[in-house]
C-alpha cells in the first residue's frame, strides 16, 4: 500500500472513525447546524452549548465517511472549552492545512493532534469531507438556522 494512502488514513483517523468521540447531542445545547455534502450524501449535525462566548459543550450526530467522521470527532475534542474566536481561528488554520499545496510545508504546527489530517492535501477530492463538520460548527456559532454545505 502506498505511503500517501497510509498518510491519509492514519491510525488516529481510523480509530476516531470506528469510535467517534462526543457522538451524541449534549445535555444542554443552544446552537446547532447541519452540514451536508451533496456529492456523497454525508450529513452531520453539530450541537454547541455556548455560554459567555465559550464553547462549554459540543457533540455531533449523523453519517459520513471515515475522514468526515474522524474530523468531526477530533474537532469536538479540540474546541471544547475554547472561546468562539479561538474556535474560528482554529477552523481557519485547519482549512489552510488541508488545502495547502502538497509540495509546500503543510504548516499547522499549532493545530496539535489535528495535524493527522495533513495528508488530506494530497487528496483534493476529500477536502470537503475533512471540513464538513467545521463548516457546520462555524455555522452553529453564528446559528443562522441554515444548512451548511460544502458546495
Amino acid at each position: 500500500m502506498s505511503s500517501d494512502l497510509r498518510e491519509l488514513y492514519q491510525s488516529v483517523i481510523l480509530d476516531h472513525n470506528k469510535h467517534p468521540r462526543n457522538f451524541c447531542k449534549p445535555k444542554c445545547s443552544n446552537r446547532t447546524a447541519e452540514g451536508v455534502n451533496p456529492l456523497c450524501g454525508d450529513q452531520l449535525t453539530v450541537y454547541l452549548d455556548v455560554e459567555d462566548g465559550v464553547v462549554k459543550d459540543v457533540g455531533f450526530s449523523g453519517t459520513g465517511c471515515a475522514i468526515s467522521t474522524a474530523s468531526a470527532s477530533l474537532m469536538t475534542q479540540t474546541i471544547k472549552g475554547m472561546k468562539i474566536e479561538e474556535a474560528e481561528r482554529l477552523f481557519k488554520g485547519f482549512r489552510e492545512m488541508v488545502t495547502a499545496d502538497p509540495q509546500s510545508d503543510p504548516g499547522g504546527k499549532d493545530l496539535g493532534k489535528l495535524t493527522v489530517f495533513s495528508g488530506v492535501r494530497e487528496f483534493p477530492m476529500r477536502v470537503k469531507c475533512a471540513t464538513l463538520a467545521w463548516h457546520a460548527m462555524s455555522e452553529a456559532l453564528h446559528d443562522t438556522g441554515e444548512t451548511a454545505t460544502t458546495e
Partner: protein, 413 residues
C-alpha cells in the same frame, strides 16, 4: 455504403481487449475505468469525426445556400437517419436532437405534459428512477395540481409489476420509467409496462440513458411513445441527446423553446412553427457533437450490439460471482434481469473511502447516491460504490477491483 448497410448486424467474434485499444484514454495509462454508467469513454473514431467535422465540413446547418452549408446539413441529417435505424424508429422526423436525456425528458414534461396533464391527473414513475426522471414530473405536477405516483420495487431492486398495475388508472396521463436503472442495473420490463399503460390510455416515456450502450433497443416493438437517450453514454460526445417521439404525438405538441430554426414565419402579431422535428430544435444545435454521435453509433453497430451484450452479460456474471466472495461485501441490486451495473457496500467502510482507495489503485468507480436518493433510502444506505461495465472492460479489470477491495479491507480492519 448506405446507412442501412452500415447498420446491418455483423456476426464476428467480439474481443474486448481489442476494443479497448480503440480508446486512447485507456492506453498506457493503467486506468481501469469502471464508471461508464456515469459517462462512457470515447473511441478514436468519435474523436476523429468531431475533428473532421470542424476541419472539413463545418458550417451552420439549414441556412446557407453555399455548398459547404449544404454538406454540413446533409451530414447532420444523416445522423438523424442513423439514429432512426439504430433505435428502430419508423421515420427520421421522429428523432429530435436535444442536449441530453435530461433535456429530452424535460421537453416532454414541458410540452406534452403541460398540454395534457391537469388538476387531479396522475403521473406514474418507479422507485428506482434517476432524479432526472423524477424532478421534471414533480415540477409538472406541482404546476398543474396533478399527483406523482411511485411504483415500488422489491428488495432485489426489481419493479413489483402487480403494484405498478394497481397504480394505473384512467387518471394516469403519463408513465415515466427507466429502461435500465443507473443505480441498480435492473432491466425493467418496458414492453409489458407500455402495454399496461396504454390499456389505461397513458403515454409512456422511457429513460433509455443506461440501456442504449448495452442493449438493442427497438422503439417500434416496445411501442413506447417517447424514448430519451444521451450520446455520451454510448461513447459519443457530451452535449447531444435524443428524444424519440411517435410522429403523431410530436405533431400534436406545442414548441419547447422559441427561436431560430423552429419557425415557419415570424410576424410581430403571430409566428407559425416549423414541422417536426425542427419545431423542437430552436437555435443552432451541437453540429460537431452530432457528427461525433453518428460515429459512435456506427462504432457500436460495427462491433455488434448483440456481441457487446453477450460480453457484458458474461462479465457481469463473473464480477457478481467474484465480488460476492469478498468478505463483508453486500450487493445492492440483485434483480433477475440486470445489466452491467454493480452497486455494493463494504461492511464498516463508507463508500467514499472505498472510492478514494480504489482511485489510488488506478480504478475509477462512482461513489455516492448516483442521483437516485430514493433508491438509497429503500436500501437504507447513504451511498453505494458502483462499478459499471462497458464493452471495453475485461475480467482483468474485475480481478484488479477485487484485489483493491482487499487493500481497503486491510486498511480498515
Amino acid at each position: 455504403m448506405s446507412t442501412a448497410e452500415r447498420l446491418a448486424p455483423r456476426d464476428e467474434a467480439f474481443d474486448p481487449a481489442r476494443a479497448k485499444q480503440d480508446f486512447p484514454i485507456l492506453q498506457n495509462t493503467g486506468l481501469i475505468f469502471l464508471d461508464s454508467a456515469a459517462s462512457a469513454q470515447k473511441p478514436q473514431c468519435v474523436i476523429d469525426a468531431i475533428a473532421n467535422c470542424y476541419s472539413r465540413d463545418y458550417a451552420n446547418i439549414h441556412r446557407g445556400v453555399y455548398e459547404l452549408s449544404a454538406r454540413a446539413t446533409a451530414n447532420f441529417e444523416a445522423v438523424r437517419e442513423t439514429t432512426q435505424l439504430f433505435i428502430g424508429a419508423a421515420e427520421a422526423r421522429e428523432i429530435v436532437f436535444v442536449r441530453n436525456t435530461t433535456e429530452a425528458i424535460n421537453l416532454v414534461a414541458a410540452t406534452y405534459g403541460r398540454q395534457n396533464v391537469g388538476p387531479g391527473d396522475e403521473v406514474l414513475v418507479t422507485e428506482m428512477e434517476h432524479h432526472s426522471n423524477i424532478v421534471p414530473w414533480q415540477m409538472l405536477c406541482e404546476e398543474k395540481g396533478a399527483v406523482l405516483r411511485v411504483a415500488p420495487m422489491d428488495d432485489r431492486g426489481a419493479l413489483i409489476l402487480d403494484e405498478f398495475e394497481k397504480l394505473l388508472c384512467p387518471r394516469t396521463k403519463i408513465v415515466a420509467v427507466a429502461h435500465i436503472s443507473n443505480a441498480l442495473g435492473t432491466v425493467n420490463p418496458v414492453e409489458e409496462i407500455t402495454r399496461l399503460a396504454h390499456a389505461q390510455g397513458a403515454v409512456v416515456v422511457i429513460d433509455g440513458a443506461q440501456a442504449i450502450p448495452h442493449h438493442r433497443v427497438d422503439v417500434a416493438s416496445l411501442d413506447c411513445d417517447f424514448y430519451a437517450l444521451s450520446s455520451h453514454k454510448v461513447f459519443g460526445p457530451t452535449g447531444v441527446g435524443v428524444l424519440y417521439g411517435k410522429a403523431a404525438l410530436l405533431e400534436s405538441m406545442p414548441p419547447y423553446q422559441g427561436g431560430g430554426s423552429m419557425i415557419e414565419t415570424v410576424r410581430f402579431e403571430k409566428s407559425t412553427y416549423a414541422e417536426i422535428p425542427q419545431r423542437f430544435e430552436a437555435g443552432t444545435p451541437d453540429i460537431g457533437g452530432v457528427a461525433g454521435f453518428g460515429a459512435a453509433l456506427d462504432y457500436v453497430t460495427g462491433l455488434g450490439l448483440d456481441a457487446i451484450e453477450r460480453h457484458e452479460r458474461e462479465l457481469l456474471a463473473y464480477a457478481t460471482d467474484v465480488l460476492a466472495k469478498v468478505p463483508g461485501l453486500r450487493l445492492i441490486g440483485t434483480a433477475p434481469q440486470k445489466a452491467a451495473v454493480i452497486s455494493f457496500s463494504l461492511e464498516g467502510v463508507h463508500p467514499h473511502d472505498v472510492g478514494s482507495i480504489l482511485d489510488h489503485e488506478g480504478i475509477a468507480v462512482r461513489t455516492g447516491h448516483h442521483c437516485a436518493q430514493p433508491v438509497m433510502e429503500h436500501f437504507g444506505v447513504p451511498a453505494t460504490v458502483r462499478a459499471s461495465l462497458a464493452l471495453y472492460n475485461t475480467r482483468e479489470d474485475i480481478d484488479a477491483l477485487v484485489r483493491a477491495l482487499q487493500t481497503v479491507r486491510e486498511l480498515f480492519k
